[in-house]
C-alpha cells in the first residue's frame, strides 16, 4: 500500500474535506446573505481638521519614534479605508508600528456641492491647510507627504505650486504622470470618443459606476477568476475576511468632482501636460522641477491601473537631488493591502521614510 493511502491518511483527508465542506457552506451562506461583513477602517483615530467634507485624521499611537509626521493624501475616486482595511491588513497600522506619526486626508464623498472643486481646490487650498493642521497637531515644523494614486498627482501639484510649504519628503505611490502610458483607462476620452460632459452626470460629478466600470474594463475576466478563487478558498475564514473587505472596497468608489475631472481630461490626459510641462492651474504654469525635497517614487510592477510607463518618469520631472525609485512586485492595490504589502511593499516604504526622518 502506498504511504499516501494508509488508513490514517485517508481518515485525515476525509475529516479535512468534511470540515472544509461545512465551513464552505457556512461562509457561502454568510457571504450570500451579506452577513459578517468585516469592519473596515477601524484603527483608532481623531479628526484634527475638517473643511466641508474633507477630514484630516490622526491615528492614535503611543510609540512615535520618528518625526516629521506622515500625511497621506488619498485618491479622489476611491475610499481611503483601503489604507486601513482591518487589523492585520492595514498600511496605516504598519506605518504606526514602524514608529511613524500618521495622518490621513480623507476627501469624503463628493456631491453636487463639490462639483465645482478644481485641481486648485485640492492643491492650493485643502492640502496646504491640511499640512498646516498636521504640523500644528504634531508640533512639528515639517511633514512627509505621501500620495497614493491620484492623491500622488495632487501631492505633486501641491509641492510644485507651493515650494514654500515645509515638506520634508515626498513619497508617491502608483502615481500617474505620463498619461500616455495609461492608454487603456483613458482611451475613450483621450481620443475624443467621449468628452468630459458626456460622462459627467447632472449632479456635476462623474458617477462612481463609471469609475468602477472603467477599472473593470481593464481586466474584464478578472471578476470570474476572483469567483473561482473565492470558491476554492470559501472554507478559509481568514481568506474570506480579506476577500470581503477588498470586495467591499472595489465596489465602493466615490464620485469624481466634475470640474477636477474636466481639467484632468483636458490637461493631464489629452495634452499629457505633466510630461510636456504645459500644465496650467489658476492661470499659472506648473513646474514640477521646483520640487526640491527628497522624493521616493514607488512603482508596482504588476499595476494594471497605473502601468509602469505612466508612473516611471517622476524622478526625471522633479528637481530634487535625491529622487529614488522603489519597484515592488505588487499590483496597484497590493502596494497597500494584502499579505504581500505587509511583507514586501510596506517595509520598503516605511524604511525609506524612517531613513529620511529624525528619531525623537
Amino acid at each position: 500500500m502506498s504511504p499516501s493511502f494508509t488508513p490514517s491518511v485517508v481518515i485525515e483527508r476525509v475529516e479535512r474535506d468534511v470540515d472544509r465542506a461545512i465551513r464552505r457552506g457556512r461562509n457561502g451562506l454568510r457571504y450570500a446573505a451579506g452577513m459578517h461583513r468585516p469592519k473596515v477602517g477601524q484603527s483608532p483615530k481623531a479628526v484634527v481638521w475638517r473643511r466641508h467634507k474633507t477630514e484630516l485624521w490622526r491615528y492614535r499611537s503611543s510609540d512615535v519614534r520618528f518625526a516629521p509626521p506622515v500625511l497621506i493624501v488619498h485618491s479622489l475616486v476611491s475610499r481611503s479605508y483601503v489604507l486601513d482595511l482591518y487589523p492585520g491588513n492595514s498600511a496605516v497600522a504598519f506605518l504606526l508600528g514602524s514608529g511613524l506619526d500618521v495622518f490621513l486626508l480623507d476627501w469624503g464623498v463628493a456631491d453636487e456641492a463639490d462639483a465645482g472643486n478644481t485641481l486648485e481646490s485640492y492643491a492650493d487650498d485643502a492640502i496646504p491647510d491640511a499640512v498646516a493642521a498636521a504640523r500644528r497637531a504634531a508640533g512639528s515644523d515639517e511633514v512627509t507627504l505621501l500620495g497614493y494614486c491620484f492623491g500622488g498627482v495632487l501631492s505633486l501639484l501641491t509641492c510644485a505650486r507651493h515650494p514654500e510649504l515645509p515638506i520634508r519628503n515626498l513619497v508617491l505611490m502608483a502615481t500617474p504622470v505620463d498619461f500616455n502610458g495609461m492608454q487603456a483607462i483613458t482611451a475613450l476620452v483621450r481620443e475624443g470618443r467621449l468628452g468630459p460632459d458626456d460622462i459627467i452626470e447632472p449632479t456635476g460629478n462623474v458617477p462612481p459606476e463609471v469609475v468602477e466600470g472603467a477599472f473593470r474594463m481593464l481586466k474584464p475576466t478578472s471578476e470570474i477568476s476572483q469567483y473561482a478563487t473565492l470558491w476554492e478558498n470559501l472554507w478559509n475564514d481568514e481568506y474570506m475576511e480579506g476577500y470581503q473587505a477588498m470586495g467591499q472596497w472595489t465596489r465602493d468608489h466615490v464620485p469624481f468632482p466634475g470640474a477636477a475631472f474636466r481639467q484632468t481630461v483636458e490637461q493631464l490626459v489629452r495634452r499629457n501636460a505633466l510630461m510636456e510641462g504645459t500644465l496650467e492651474l489658476g492661470g499659472e504654469p506648473v513646474d514640477l522641477s521646483t520640487i526640491r525635497c527628497p522624493v521616493l517614487n514607488v512603482l508596482a510592477e504588476r499595476d494594471h491601473i497605473v502601468p509602469l510607463p505612466a508612473a516611471e518618469p517622476v524622478p526625471r520631472l522633479v528637481g530634487s537631488e535625491e529622487a529614488s525609485e522603489l519597484r515592488l512586485p505588487a499590483g496597484h492595490v497590493g502596494l497597500v493591502a494584502g499579505r504581500a504589502a505587509a511583507k514586501i511593499t510596506l517595509p520598503g516604504i516605511a524604511g525609506w521614510i524612517t531613513d529620511h526622518s529624525n528619531r525623537v
Partner: protein, 90 residues
C-alpha cells in the same frame, strides 16, 4: 504548498487562453467606438424617456426626476454659497 485542485487547473488554463484576447478586444478601436456609441445612445434614450414621462407626470401635477434634480441643484448652489461664506470667516 498544496497543489491546485484539478478543476482550478482547467479553469486557469482556459482563463489564460481567454483573458488575453478579451483584454485586447476591450482595448481595440472598434470596442472603443462601440462603447462611445452605446453610451451616447443610452443617454439619448434616457433623455427622451424623461421628456415623455415628464409631460405625462406634469399633466397630473406630479413632480418628476427633473424637478427634483433642479431642486437639488439649487440646494447645492446654496451650500456652495454657504461654504464660501464660511471660508471667508476669519
Amino acid at each position: 504548498m498544496a497543489a491546485k485542485p484539478r478543476w482550478r487547473q482547467v479553469f486557469d488554463a482556459v482563463d489564460r487562453r481567454v483573458a488575453g484576447p478579451v483584454e485586447a478586444g476591450t482595448r481595440s478601436d472598434a470596442f472603443g467606438d462601440l462603447v462611445a456609441v452605446s453610451w451616447r445612445l443610452s443617454r439619448r434614450v434616457q433623455q427622451e424617456m424623461e421628456r415623455r414621462s415628464r409631460r405625462a407626470l406634469h399633466l397630473l401635477n406630479l413632480p418628476t426626476a427633473t424637478d427634483v434634480r433642479r431642486l437639488s441643484e439649487q440646494v447645492a448652489a446654496l451650500r456652495r454659497e454657504l461654504r464660501e461664506l464660511q471660508d471667508r470667516r476669519p
